[in-house]
């Protein structure tokens, strides 16, 4: 009995000692979400974290904060399939995987891969496709691990400057990489990328770093300088101010999306591809805004 107790003490010391070796305290993410569906009637949250065909999740497990966004590909509506079903189920499955601890923080691709596999395990014959972006903060090592498939993405902003960002993956103009479950008979003709194709990165973060994760609805309508301008207003790390900033970014992007004369980044890109397009790009917008803060219980 006594030996067990003393052994327990040794283990406890070893664990605590291991903690104190990493510099300072653990970090955490304070995250707020905001978004708009393309369809005005669906402007508010449908069920949980869904904006139009976009979906997102914020979750944590032990020493990892995990968040993600997914943009359901709208083209499926023509087949009589609700595109939000795929993105939503994908995000809900990711959330469940995280909650149950079935992941390693250093491998967000693992989360995406298992979530995609679970979609195929559903009795309901799901159809559709979606882009996805997942960000994991390892609270101990102060690192974010990310994976991104398609044209959603994230920015890490430090001192008013973008210090790290995701790469966009497109097959061709306006056709991002995507996870897909195709209807039988159309497997060859539907774009479907493996979760393994996702772009991955790891990045050391500092206290006060802002991580903005969003679907293309934001990045297509707001250039970096506008986003940075909004982010400058974020002064502290409490949830309310993060929520407020997230809201103001989403609202601004939403307004710009319906401005016919505004030269959006999307229109710019379209012109570069030889298409004469002006104005914003009406799309579902999902914004997850996180700030790196010190871990408190």
């Amino acid at each position: 009995m006594l030996s067990v107790l003393s052994y327990g003490r040794i283990v406890a010391r070893a664990v605590l000692g291991g903690l104190s070796q990493t510099d300072g305290r653990d970090y955490k993410l304070v995250t707020a979400s905001c978004g708009f569906g393309k369809d005005f009637r669906k402007g508010i949250l449908k069920k949980g974290m869904c904006y139009g065909d976009d979906a997102c999740f914020i979750s944590c497990h032990r020493s990892a904060d995990v968040l993600g966004v997914a943009d359901g590909v709208g083209g499926w509506r023509d087949y009589g399939v609700d595109p939000s079903q795929f993105s939503e189920t994908l995000m809900r499955t990711c959330e469940r995987l995280v909650k149950e601890g079935r992941f390693t923080p250093s491998s967000p691709v693992g989360i995406l891969t298992s979530a995609y596999y679970e979609l195929l395990q559903n009795k309901v014959p799901l159809l559709g496709s979606s882009t996805a972006c997942i960000v994991v903060l390892d609270q101990r090592s102060h690192q974010i691990h990310t994976c991104n498939l398609g044209d959603s993405g994230f920015l890490v902003v430090r001192g008013g400057e973008v210090v790290h960002r995701s790469d966009e993956q497109q097959h061709y103009f306006n056709t991002p990489f995507q996870l897909a479950i195709a209807p039988p008979g159309a497997e060859g003709s539907v774009l479907s990328d493996s979760p393994e194709m996702a772009d991955r990165s790891s990045f050391d973060v500092q206290l006060g770093d802002i991580i903005l994760t969003a679907t293309d609805g934001l990045f297509d309508n707001m250039p970096d300088y506008m986003i940075l301008q909004e982010l400058k207003k974020l002064k502290n790390t409490n949830y309310d101010s993060v929520q407020q900033t997230a809201r103001s970014i989403a609202e601004q992007a939403h307004e710009l999306a319906y401005d016919p004369n505004y030269m959006s980044p999307f229109a710019q890109f379209a012109c570069d591809n030889g298409l004469n397009v002006r104005g914003g790009k009406p799309d579902d917008i999902t914004v997850l805004l996180s700030i790196v803060a010190e871990y408190t219980d």
Partner: protein, 600 residues
């Protein structure tokens, strides 16, 4: 193996540390703790330790038994959700699968068909057990508590310490509504604190799969004074009858013909037989007669059976032909040595051996079986998921096998190939959820070449079977009556490229004897496939085409018209089939049970 040990010892150490630190806290503040012990404590299941079967795939978290742990995620909603724990079968549809006849002498109070063992964080005296059933409730028939703490630091499990007490037992019930419910039966008080529960199920009266969301154990840390345990000690060694001093003189009873007493005695359950043997020498002779032990089912007594009781039974079981030891001997109650010596002594004329969920079975045990039971025809190793892959090679020596169940085992390709090469008399084969088999096409091609008299084949959740493999199987095994291809994920991706799923039509053309066909979650089944099945399989009784978008109500109607023997038709999650169609068809074909599951 070493990693598993390391992990468990680490967990137990951690637990120990956590416990001791929390106790130290308790001593610092004695008053609040004392107040706390009075109140009841609710705990959700922490971990699922063992179970007999599940619907989900091994690496998955959809419809698997592991979902029974943790707080509820579906309740109070009702429906067929991925987040829940689901068993492999329901109703009576699967019961006569294979040739497993019911063992005589099975007590009428034993209803259990499936089980689930869950642990909780802290040992408490239970006052209530609540099971959140979210879909087709009513399957629970027994709840038991164990005195053994699976998180205790010592791994030298003392058999006498491990005691199971029944908290509640009932009969299977028929609940017609699929709606969610909280099942909270009145439970008996027990004399020990527990953090290990076992739930036993019988879904045979249910209309569809039962689904469990969570299990809550409510109890107190200290037993309230005044409550005396109802059962202080049920005789745990009822099977261990010993020689007593019995006197002669049985009056006229001894004059009865030997066969007549044998006949009377043959109606007794095994524990009664053992009790009767203690009454007098005459009856002892009758009760110990090996003819009484031609078939023996020890499954109902799984909690009490140990090495000692096996050793006692040994001398009586010399003529043993059918032995059911499923679920027995876990937590080291039976050792591999004890089992081997029993098999070596009693296994010579064994024809049928059921060993599902027997985790003591290892390579040595299988070797003993292979050497002794040369005339074995049936072997069930379902859910022996801790049995090492190399051990299975031994089965190849049992050349007279007709039925082999390897559901949820870790058998590998080489072992199954050698089994199929030598056991050419196989009639029934279950390779469901065998995740270590890499290439089912190879397995199936050997099967079609060697085991041509195969009647039933279960390939549930085999990941690598392709159309080519299926075609080969059907060309060789033309006697197939039962084919389970549920969740065979590789079958539905490739075939679509060559127009519709030609392989299923091929399947239908070859299989005029087919009675049961499960194409669960094969997303490719289309109207043309159904037409072929309708014309080529007149003997069809069960058909499952869950989860296809390509089947229309008209095709379904034609199928029902041309298969007069159809009894079970599962069209759940077929997006073209709506509730109204189901109602219409059910009214037109009242003999067919048409299943249509739902999520919302």
């Amino acid at each position: 193996m070493i990693t598993v040990l390391a992990v468990t010892s680490f967990v137990s150490l951690h637990w120990r540390w956590y416990r001791s630190s929390s106790q130290n806290h308790g001593r610092g503040a004695a008053l609040p703790i004392a107040a706390e012990t009075e109140s009841e404590l609710d705990q959700y299941a922490k971990e699922v330790l063992d179970f007999s079967s599940h619907y989900g795939g091994e690496g998955s978290m959809s419809y698997t038994m592991w979902n029974a742990a943790g707080p509820p995620s579906v309740f109070p909603s009702s429906g067929d959700f991925t987040h829940t724990a689901v068993f492999r079968t329901y109703g009576r549809w699967w019961q006569d699968e294979g040739v497993a006849q019911r063992f005589s002498r099975t007590p009428s109070s034993f209803h259990s068909r499936d089980f689930l063992e869950v642990t909780f964080e802290e040992q408490i005296f239970p006052t209530a057990v609540t099971v959140l059933e979210t879909y087709h409730p009513g399957a629970i028939v027994q709840i038991l508590a164990c005195s053994h703490n699976p998180y205790a630091e010592s791994h030298t499990t003392d058999v006498s310490v491990c005691r199971w007490e029944v908290l509640w037992a009932g009969e299977p019930t028929k609940v017609t509504s699929p709606q969610a419910r909280q099942f909270c039966p009145p439970i008996r008080q027990i004399s020990f604190a527990t953090n290990l529960l076992r739930l036993e199920f019988n879904s045979s009266l249910l209309d569809y799969y039962t689904e469990l969301d969570a299990i809550v154990l409510r109890g107190v840390r200290k037993r309230a004074s005044g409550i005396t345990p109802v059962i202080a000690n049920t005789c745990p060694a009822i099977l261990n009858t010993t020689q007593d001093n019995l006197t002669e003189g049985n009056g006229y009873f001894a004059k009865l013909p030997y066969e007549l007493i044998q006949l009377i005695v043959s109606h007794l359950a095994v524990p009664d037989l053992c009790r009767l043997a203690q009454s007098c020498k005459l009856l002892q002779r009758h009760c110990y007669d090996p003819l009484q032990y031609i078939q023996l089912s020890l499954q109902p007594y799984w909690s009490r059976l140990n090495d000692l009781s096996l050793a006692h039974l040994q001398s009586r079981c010399t003529l043993l032909q059918r032995l059911n030891m499923s679920w027995t001997g876990n937590r080291s109650a039976i050792s591999p040595t004890g089992f081997c010596s029993f098999i070596r002594a009693c296994g010579a004329s064994l024809v049928c051996l059921e060993l599902s969920c027997c985790h003591y079975v290892n390579g040595t045990c299988l070797e003993a079986i292979a050497q002794t039971c040369t005339s074995l025809q049936e072997l069930d190793l379902a859910s022996c998921d801790r049995l090492e892959p190399q051990a299975f090679v031994q089965i190849a020596k049992l050349v007279r096998l007709r039925r082999l169940v390897l559901y949820r085992t870790k058998i590998e390709q080489t072992a199954i190939l050698s089994i199929l090469t030598f056991c050419t008399e196989l009639r029934h084969l279950n390779l469901g959820s065998c995740v270590m088999i890499e290439d089912y096409d190879v397995v199936v091609s050997v099967l079609s070449a060697r085991c041509r008299s195969l009647v039933s084949l279960d390939l549930w959740r085999c990941r690598s079977l392709s159309e080519r493999g299926l075609a080969e199987l059907l060309s060789g095994c033309s006697a197939l009556e039962e084919l389970d291809l549920g969740w065979s994920s590789a079958l539905h991706s490739g075939s679509a490229l060559h127009g519709a799923s030609a392989s299923f039509r091929h399947a239908a053309r070859r299989l005029s004897r087919l009675r049961r066909l499960y194409l669960t979650a094969n997303r490719n089944i289309c109207d043309a496939d159904l037409e072929h099945i309708a014309t080529q399989c007149p003997a069809l009784e069960h058909l499952d085409i869950l989860g296809t978008r390509l089947v229309s109500p008209a095709a379904l109607r034609r199928l029902l018209q041309s298969c007069p023997r159809l009894r079970l038709l599962d069209v759940s999650f077929c997006s073209q089939i709506d509730t109204r169609t189901i109602q219409e068809l059910s009214a037109l074909f009242p003999n067919v049970s048409i299943k249509n599951s739902f999520t919302q």
